[in-house]
Amino acid sequence: MEVYLDNSATTRVSPRAAEAMMKIIGSVYGNPSSLHAKGLEAERSLRAARRTVADSIGSDESEIIFTSGGTEANNLAVLGAARARRKRGNKIVTTAFEHSSVFEACKELESEGFEVVYIEPDENGSISSDAFSQAIDGNTILVSAMYVNNELGTILPVERIQRIIKKKNAPALFHCDAVQGYGKLPIKVKKLGCDLLTVSAHKIHGPKGCGALFIKKGVHIKPLVYGGEQERKIRPGTEALPLICGFAAACEELEDIPGRLGAITQLRDYTLSKLEAIGGVVRNSPQDALPYIINVSAVGVRSETMLHFLENKEIYVSSGSACSKGKKSHVLSAMKLEDKRIDSALRISFSCDSTKEEADALAAAVKEGMETLVKAYG
């Protein structure tokens, strides 16, 4: 039995999404910008897809810009917003545990002369709204914070941020990287109060290579690339229609998010109880983390060793975060965990398809690993 528990890295494409893409590849091959009937057919598919994606976050279809994925959407949001607001202030507030596509974009902005404040997570791996309140001031033009941390599953108090911005009278836009929370928590852009929001298709059983940036009506950002009129000139280039339609098909399958959340919470509790019963296994995720993500340390066995041991049994998990292989996790370091706990951290991430049988297989294999593998530490 293949046990895929690395769904925060990526997910299997759902049959429905695959079918939707094949349909477009096979027959709807027109360019949505062409004036003839093939173009119109393609434009209609594009529009329907845009509406579906917009509905999934409670936005208007005119507020959705399709991109090549979460990384591009994050870059477009952070660089585009900061560069558009340069005259109104110089400060950017973000967190120290953002995805690298936000973090590195902020580094780039520092080299362009912006001041960037990186809020450190506390010992629980969380960030309080007070921390944002202290960092945001009248010179702040952009706040970028993720909804859910990809390593721990920590849920950030993002719905407070817009209120803080208002209270401080800051000329700031609020960008939320919602890639890890999308499809898992109910997301309404109005409720979150964000001006910009990033989502990605491949975390919700859609294709890789496709994401979207929500840009609130009336908010202006600078594009990163220049060309045609597509995507309101903010992201020109012929639209990746097959991928976009695959994305929309995956969105349509996002049903009963609160119900799924309840089921996954049960599965998470079950899995954790099994894992924590194994000697040496401790949990790193905070109690109130998103239940789709479990971060644990199998203390004594290096992450990568355990990962390969599990892989031999067709069980797939991640060591820390898949985006920063080999690097010591910044998040776990910020939590001031002991080195041996950081070195042995594993991230198990569920999808709505995950089962108890998979959890059992994982727990049995981790137990076997802990009993048979040579420990790196005494």
Binding site: L35, A37, L40, E43, R44, R51, G58, D60, S62, R163, K166, K167, K188, K190, K191, K217
Partner: protein, 391 residues
């Protein structure tokens, strides 16, 4: 603590003996609008309509947005319904309005007591709740003249309601209290705004669009459908009739003097429109003209256009500047779609120098060269219907 929506009706209450009819229409429209979100109880009492969700999972943000788009609602707010007990009211004020009060700098409390059995009078309620809020939010100042937040306590027959500032509603009168009229819509900025403005006065809309393929494309028609869909978010279901106009336009081009192309085309459109409007029991035509905006919208041109029809022609934008029209189109969200660059039947065969002061006799004479009746009849016979619903 139960959250409800209170919608204030304005002009509707002025309608004397017809008031009940207006109120019933308004309630029906609110119900229809909220239907996709789940079950609600919608009831009128005094000049307020009380909207109560009957299911805990209902998205109240969306419900409030939708109520804000129903014509006839002057103002609306989300409120917390509590027991008629002063302690419960105090608790609701600081819990339910916590976020609002925390963000505000100043406030005051206003009370309305329609249940005279309630032991405290309105000034007492305001005083008690006000000082409790002031104690609970020490940074908040009391300002009775110009407060940022007005906390309102309403003690009614069934319950007490606590809410903060109301938002302005869509205003106007409930549809279809104004009857039915047909909007001539091309796809530009103005006609969707005109449609919205008449719908606001309670008009039920029928739409007439002229298509001249292959001079105009399927996309231009699609654009009009999109615009109507946005308008229908306010106006409700709209029947759209697309008129095949190619033959008439080609004939105008062939047989009439160039400087009169536009004016003759407008006259043909009016003739066709009146026929369609009559078939569908519309009592008026609506256009998006604004005086002097273009050659066909001068007083002379309008007078020359209107002599072809007997129905009243409403032009709600007649006294508005372009800037004002754009502002409404941005507010109702049609602006961006209106800008899409497709040829429409008004831009096909545009004369180089259109006549701004056409003399009716001159135009009549130019038209007389052709027998139009059959062509008009054919266009009317071959209209294509689409029914547009709010998305």
């Amino acid at each position: 603590m139960k959250e409800i929506i209170l919608a204030k009706v304005g002009e509707v209450v002025l309608k004397g003996l017809n008031r009940k009819n207006f109120e019933d229409l308004l309630i029906k429209n609110i119900r229809r609008k909220l239907n996709p979100l789940g079950p609600f109880e919608v009831k009128a009492s005094q000049s307020t309509i009380r909207i109560t969700p009957l299911d805990d999972s209902i998205d109240m943000d969306e419900a409030a947005d939708k109520v804000g788009k129903v014509f006839g609602v002057v103002a609306y707010c989300r409120a917390c319904a509590v027991e008629k007990d002063i302690e419960a009211i105090k608790a609701a004020a600081i819990e339910y309005l916590a976020d609002t009060l925390e963000d505000a700098r100043s406030f005051k409390v206003e009370s309305k007591r329609s249940d005279k059995k309630f032991p405290y009078g309105s000034p007492d309620i305001s005083k008690i709740v006000g000082s409790f809020i002031a104690d609970s939010f020490p940074e908040l100042e009391v300002d009775v003249h110009n407060p940022e937040v007005t906390v309102t306590v309403e003690v009614r027959d069934m319950a007490a309601y606590v809410h903060a500032n109301a938002l302005p509603g869509a205003g106007g009168l409930p549809i279809p209290s104004g009857g039915r009229a047909a909007i001539l819509i091309s796809g530009g900025i103005d006609s969707p705004v005109a449609a919205y403005m008449m719908a606001k006065r309670g008009i039920e809309l029928t739409a007439i669009h002229f298509a001249s393929p292959p001079y105009t494309s399927e996309r231009a028609e699609e654009k009009v459908r999109t615009l109507l869909e946005i308008v229908s978010d306010y106006a409700g279901r709209i029947e759209m009739y697309t008129v095949p106009f190619t033959k008439i336009q080609e004939e105008i081009k062939r047989s009439c003097p160039e400087d009169l192309f536009t004016i003759i085309m407008r006259r043909m459109m009016m003739r066709v429109s009146q026929r369609i409007a009559e078939q569908h029991e519309c009592l008026a035509l609506i256009t998006g003209e604004s005086l002097g905006q273009v050659a066909s919208q001068t007083l002379g041109a309008i007078a020359c256009t209107d002599e072809t029809v007997t129905m009243p022609v409403f032009r709600p934008l007649i006294g508005m500047d372009k800037k004002e029209i754009v502002a409404v189109s941005e507010k109702i969200n049609t602006f961006e779609t209106s800008l899409l660059p497709y040829e429409d039947c008004c831009t096909v065969f545009t004369p180089r120098h259109p006549r701004t002061k056409p003399k009716p006799e001159m135009v009549r004479k130019a038209e007389a060269a052709v027998v139009w009746d059959e062509m008009i009849e054919e266009a009317v016979q071959n209209v294509k219907v689409n029914v547009i619903y709010p998305k």
